[in-house]
Symmetry: C2
Subunit: 315 residues, 2 copies
């Protein structure tokens, strides 16, 4: 199948690498607003993408969820089958509705919010709620790198390098495994920061980090100032991970419980996310071929569509 990739940041590059792993994908081009050179594929300016509407089977969108995808996904879904990884959880319904209207108007198929959370973790939460009675679901992220939090620190005046690791608290995991109602995410995670900055400004910077609303305020935050060489040696990888624990009741008066515990670990967050998006690209083409138009989320996609061949042997 012929794919296009919009954007060439970490995720766009990972999609290019991931697509090359399988002979089923042919990259028509990478579309970027910037004047870039891609590692393997041809590069075109974003605003030429509509020239390829009859060539590309699926466009994979590697833009950001704050500014890019809310505009790009609905605009492109009219003319292309698309897959995106829109990740602002509380706004997914609104995003879905806009993409759906556009895809239906253009007789195309779209799958939004494909990744590990939202995406794979969402499916685990839904399985918990569907199969277990009085299900208590706790989602944990990390230990791993949060790009958003790292960037928030880098914007502070005087910071040269910074990275933030999200770390779930062991006590919170143990409580989830024991079936306690989940705490809010703030209480269940530690924010571990490694920062390179001028020593004279460190006390001030630490104070500023701790008070960034949404990102750090209210969290247990550990700020570590380290040398530039330590940072460059030890803090360059974008590994991540996470866990969804669903604890619930079964059997009514027999008073049993059951637990579903899903854990992932990955060396590279963008590469793993790209693998998931490429599987949903396969699915979106098959939905389109079946004339099943409109927007979907991973909740709407029957699993067999993710894999091209021989799925009965996996049952």
């Amino acid at each position: 199948m012929k794919i296009g990739i919009i954007g060439y940041g970490n995720l766009g590059k990972a999609l290019e690498r991931g697509a090359r792993l399988s002979s089923e994908f042919e990259i028509v081009g990478i579309f970027s607003r910037r004047n870039i050179k891609a590692k393997y594929a041809k590069v075109f300016n974003s605003n030429t993408v509509f020239k390829y509407e009859n060539v590309i089977d699926c466009l994979l969108l590697a833009g950001g969820s704050s500014h890019d995808l809310p505009v790009m996904s609905p605009a492109l879904a009219k003319k292309f089958n698309i897959v995106d990884s829109f990740d602002r959880h509380s706004e997914i319904k609104e995003h879905f509705d806009k993409v759906n209207a556009s895809a239906l108007a253009g007789n195309h198929s779209a799958i939004v919010s494909c990744g590990w959370d939202p995406g794979l973790f969402s499916i685990m939460r839904l399985f918990g709620k569907s199969f277990l009675n009085d299900c208590r679901i706790s989602s944990f992220w990390g230990r791993g790198v949060s790009q958003g939090h790292s960037e928030a620190i880098r914007k502070i005046d005087g910071v040269k390098y910074a990275i933030q690791y999200t770390v779930p608290k062991t006590e919170a995991i143990n409580e989830a495994l024991a079936g306690k109602k989940p705490e809010n995410a703030k209480e269940a995670h530690i924010r571990e920061c490694y920062v390179v900055a001028d020593s004279a400004k460190q006390r001030e910077i630490e104070e500023e980090i701790r008070n960034i609303p949404e990102y750090f305020k209210g969290y247990e935050t550990h700020v570590n100032f380290i040398s530039e060489s330590e940072f460059l040696n030890k803090h360059q990888r974008m590994f991540h991970g996470g866990r969804v624990i669903s604890f619930g009741e079964t059997g009514g008066e027999n008073k049993g419980t059951a637990i579903m515990d899903f854990q992932i670990k990955m060396d590279s967050n963008p590469d793993f996310t790209a693998g998931i998006m490429l599987a949903y690209a396969r699915a979106v083409k098959r939905l389109y071929d079946m004339k099943n138009y409109g927007a979907k989320t991973p909740f709407h996609v029957p699993p067999y569509l993710l894999l091209e061949n021989a799925y009965f042997d996996l049952l």
Copy 2:
């Protein structure tokens, strides 16, 4: 929705208990060949079931996979929407084809092989293959009670009580977590047996257990003879569990790996299985209402159909 339950063994009883946990299910009746009394629901003879074809939204089949389901599922799928837990992995395609022909002929919907394996574990294996490159998947069962193996021991002359626990080997789990290609299931599991028998016959019985083909021969088998009182005190529960580990590559020349590790533990195998089957009963009614007839497996069912309400908040 109105459901019927066919069979009243461990799984049939669990389906009755499970259905009572939610106000959305009304049990029209339990259908049995035997003259039984159910705990809560009305009981009818199995051969009267076709009288209820216009009343029952979904029939849940709680029969065995060796003899009951290969006959009952195709026979009933013509007149009813059905859900079964057919679990003979290598015969699922054949079973599916027969049920599919029958359901299509009668304009009904059917979902076969709903449970945790096949079912939930199958979906995990499919996700592994879909999202990861060169994916190595290992499935582990236990520690938990295998009904089939326990029964095989009980059939031996001189055995009064017996139970068999399937136990995955720690080394095999560690190898799967490290990305080694999976061994066959025989090498990855221990069969732990607790048997009550006349002491004079124990040596002979142990020898006989170790040589039962398919069930024990070739496995690391531990046979423990215990007293009747110890058996009755300590070995009455039908707990089970399992784990699917998918290890694969991401990122092409960047040479990363990712791991998806899904573990379940349950106090009661039939109660957990019943919870899964009831969710698929919800789905089969919705498929039927959409006129999406024929047979499906859990691979064919979009996850959102498993849960009645408000799924966007779980994304």
